[in-house]
């Protein structure tokens, strides 16, 4: 009996302060993450206009979203196109940059810093810059360059066909420095002996890259692709800032409408907060499923 009573007390004496110190974090975590998440899940089953009490509607929001909502489908299509293009090109360029500037010499460090800069700059400021670059008429940077080569000024932000390419360009430019740094770290963990051994076996540069570098970089690639994927699916500022000036959210003819801007549009300009929550959960499920697939592929390749 005495032993049983003493055990928790001893445990408390031992770990008590640790738990106490964890409390503020746990409080914040529960209050600002767990609770809002649970609430948003609840709201996704309701009709809620932000002011009147939510009305429970079951799966109606999801049904409407998946089967009746053309704008959502359009947003989904745009987002997939954007994600595939920006992740594909972005990852390739990150790797290319890492291979080019992986050394520890000054020029390499300076180049790495330059390419990494967009990742630490305020994205709002970057987006405003892009907006100026693609300004219409004769005074945007892009048009100035076009006219140097004798071209006619382009209405970049008001041409639906250019919206996704511009978004991809902005994303790749802004994100490749981040991927590059991760790849550089990955490259530096590959022991030089492997390359020496490969060379002795008669492998050329391309074979060394294909048979040694790429496989050993697989964990980095998985990380870069998965985090990039999550970020790209949630693209918001680029659409909101760069294209809203030209028109309401989504750009001309919704050519740049993505899932999160659409969520914002439904929630904060149409007051459909229940519906917006449903969109958020669909987005979560998509990202979750794709990340799982990605990790599975990574693991499967490792086992080969």
């Amino acid at each position: 009996m005495a032993i049983h009573a003493a055990a928790p007390r001893r445990r408390w004496r031992r770990y008590g302060t640790s738990y106490l110190m964890l409390l503020p974090f746990l409080g914040l975590f529960a209050g600002f993450l767990v609770w809002p998440l649970a609430n948003s899940l609840y709201l996704s089953f309701t009709k809620f206009d932000g002011v009147n009490a939510p009305e429970f509607e079951g799966l109606d929001n999801f049904r409407h979203l998946l089967f009746d909502d053309d704008r959502f489908r359009h947003a989904l299509g745009n987002t997939f196109l954007y994600v595939v293009a920006s992740i594909g090109i972005g990852t390739l360029l990150s790797l290319g940059l890492a291979l080019a500037f992986s050394g520890s010499s000054w020029p390499h460090r300076i180049m790495r810093t330059i390419f990494f800069l967009p990742s630490v700059t305020s994205s709002i400021a970057l987006m405003l810059l892009w907006k100026w670059i693609f300004a219409p008429g004769d005074f945007g940077l892009a048009n100035t360059v076009v006219t140097w080569f004798g071209g006619r000024a382009v209405e970049w932000l008001a041409t639906p066909g250019l919206t996704i390419p511009i978004l991809v360009l902005m994303s790749v430019w802004g994100g490749m420095g981040y991927g590059m740094v991760l790849y550089v770290a990955g490259l530096n963990t590959i022991p030089q002996e492997y390359y020496e051994a490969a060379r002795i076996d008669g492998a050329g540069t391309w074979q060394q890259f294909r048979r040694v570098t790429l496989p050993l970089l697989r964990p980095v690639t998985t990380y870069v692709v998965v985090t990039g994927l999550i970020g790209a699916f949630q693209v918001f500022e680029a659409v909101y800032i760069v294209f809203r000036g030209t028109n309401n959210i989504g750009g001309v003819l919704d050519s740049g409408l993505m899932i999160v801007p659409y969520l914002y549009d439904q929630g904060f300009t149409h007051f459909k907060l229940g519906y917006a929550s449903a969109i958020a959960w669909v987005l979560f499920l998509i990202i979750f499923a794709l990340s799982m697939v990605n990790l599975r592929i990574g693991r499967a390749l490792k086992e080969l």
Partner: protein
């Protein structure tokens, strides 16, 4: 990762606001009318504008020593969401001001006070009739009243028009297109552009009302299936496709500065051009928009101001909102606006001549406002506006014909009116 943060924030705001709302919409306890009242006013706009409105607030406090009013600025970009969150949690400012139809939107959801109970109807005689109508809900409830006005004018380069042999700015649609032709002949690359609402419903608004059409009938039925609406849309499309108006938006000062001869732009541009483009000094002027086949009409926008239903000092706040229409309040705001060089047009047409613009510009605005029309205060309009604009874009970009675009737009309006 940064992108994730923004999205998370948006989601958090939504979720937090939602959680607070479940507490329901109970009546807020009213403080004693005689007790000291500290009133806050969330003003959508810039800091300079808040400072100008603060002058009126300070004047009010002089005669009502018990009441202090603090004007706080909300930036346009996130004002709507913040006001929604305040409305949801039923805690926040006593007075709000923002987009012309916002007070109706919040009011219909129980977030605003019906100001008729506090005698604002007597202000109707002083206000611009169309603008007043647009602030009033279809059922007659007044959740907010106009706080200021914004309108649109034809900005033109006098030197370029002279060179093309055009003596005075175009007064009708026909003259406008004829002048565009003359300007092109004289070597002007971009004779015409639209700054405000280039591919948006505000841009179409002017042509629609000038052609004698409207978005809704007086009893709020969508009315875009009319010959007037078709004529207006066809003319607007021609301006873009046949007469080379850019589809992308160029701010008025930049457009004039880079050689666009005529621009439809908002009244606020009139204050900034001489300072931002000194080389244009003396080479530009403004005039009312060219009239359409039906009438000379111009879009009138602006902000509405109203009292929140969860305020503890509704009585005092409503009294102050009424005070904003007095001569002394309007004059105080105008004087401060002039000192800060901000574009303020008072909500009272008889006071427009004293607005912070040059006397010539003020005279033009005063004339425009006489025939001005305001956005429909019909239910569902705010929700429809962006989808309606997409239909116009489809027509301008050649993806839909005029009739189909208008029919689709009307369908959207009908659906949201429900």
């Amino acid at each position: 990762m940064r992108r994730t943060t923004a999205a998370t924030c948006a989601a958090l705001i939504a979720a937090l606001g939602a959680g607070c709302a479940t507490s329901g919409t109970s009546e807020t306890k009213q403080a004693d009318a005689g007790a000291p009242a500290a009133i806050t006013w969330w003003s959508t706009g810039g800091d300079d504008e808040s400072a100008a409105f603060q002058k009126a607030a300070d004047l009010y406090s002089k005669t009502h020593p018990n009441v202090t009013i603090k004007v706080q600025t909300l930036a346009w970009d996130d004002a709507y969401a913040k006001l929604l969150a305040a409305s949801t949690s039923r805690s926040g400012p006593d007075i709000i001001s923002g987009g012309m139809t916002w007070t109706i939107q919040f009011g219909l959801r129980g977030g605003m006070v019906d100001l008729r109970k506090y005698g604002v109807e007597q202000l109707r005689a002083q206000a611009q009739p169309a603008q007043w109508k647009s602030a009033v809900s279809p059922d007659g409830t007044i959740y907010g009243i106009p706080l200021d006005m914004s309108t649109e004018a034809l900005y033109y380069r006098t030197d370029l028009l002279d060179k093309a042999g055009i003596k005075e700015p175009p007064k009708t649609w026909e003259e406008l297109t004829a002048d565009i032709g003359k300007l092109k002949k004289s070597g002007v690359k971009t004779p015409f552009g639209i700054d405000w609402g280039n591919l948006d419903w505000i841009g179409y608004f002017n042509f629609l009302y000038q052609a004698g059409g409207t978005f809704y009938t007086p009893d709020c039925k969508p009315s875009l299936n009319t010959p007037q609406a078709e004529r207006a849309l066809s003319y607007w499309i021609d301006l873009h496709r046949r007469h080379g108006a850019p589809t992308d938006t160029v701010a008025t000062p930049d457009a004039l500065g880079t050689g666009t001869a005529m621009v439809y732009g908002g009244n606020w541009n009139a204050l900034g051009i001489d300072t931002s483009k000194p080389e244009l000094k003396g080479k530009w002027a403004i005039a009312p928009l060219p009239a359409g086949p039906a009438a000379p009409t111009t879009f009138i926008g602006g902000r509405a101001v109203g009292v929140t239903s969860y305020s503890e000092h509704i009585q005092q706040a409503a009294d102050f909102v009424k005070f904003l229409y007095t001569d002394e309040a309007v004059d105080a705001v105008a004087a401060e606006s002039k000192a800060r060089n901000i574009a303020y047009i008072p909500p009272r047409p008889d006071k427009v001549a004293d607005s912070p613009f040059t006397p010539e510009h003020s005279a033009v605005f005063a004339e425009i406002i006489k025939t001005g029309a305001a956005a429909p205060g019909c239910p569902g309009w705010d929700e429809s506006a962006s989808d309606v604009a997409k239909q116009f874009q489809a027509a301008i970009l050649g993806k839909a014909d005029v009739k189909t675009a208008l029919a689709e737009a009307a369908k959207v309006m009908e659906r949201n009116a429900g």
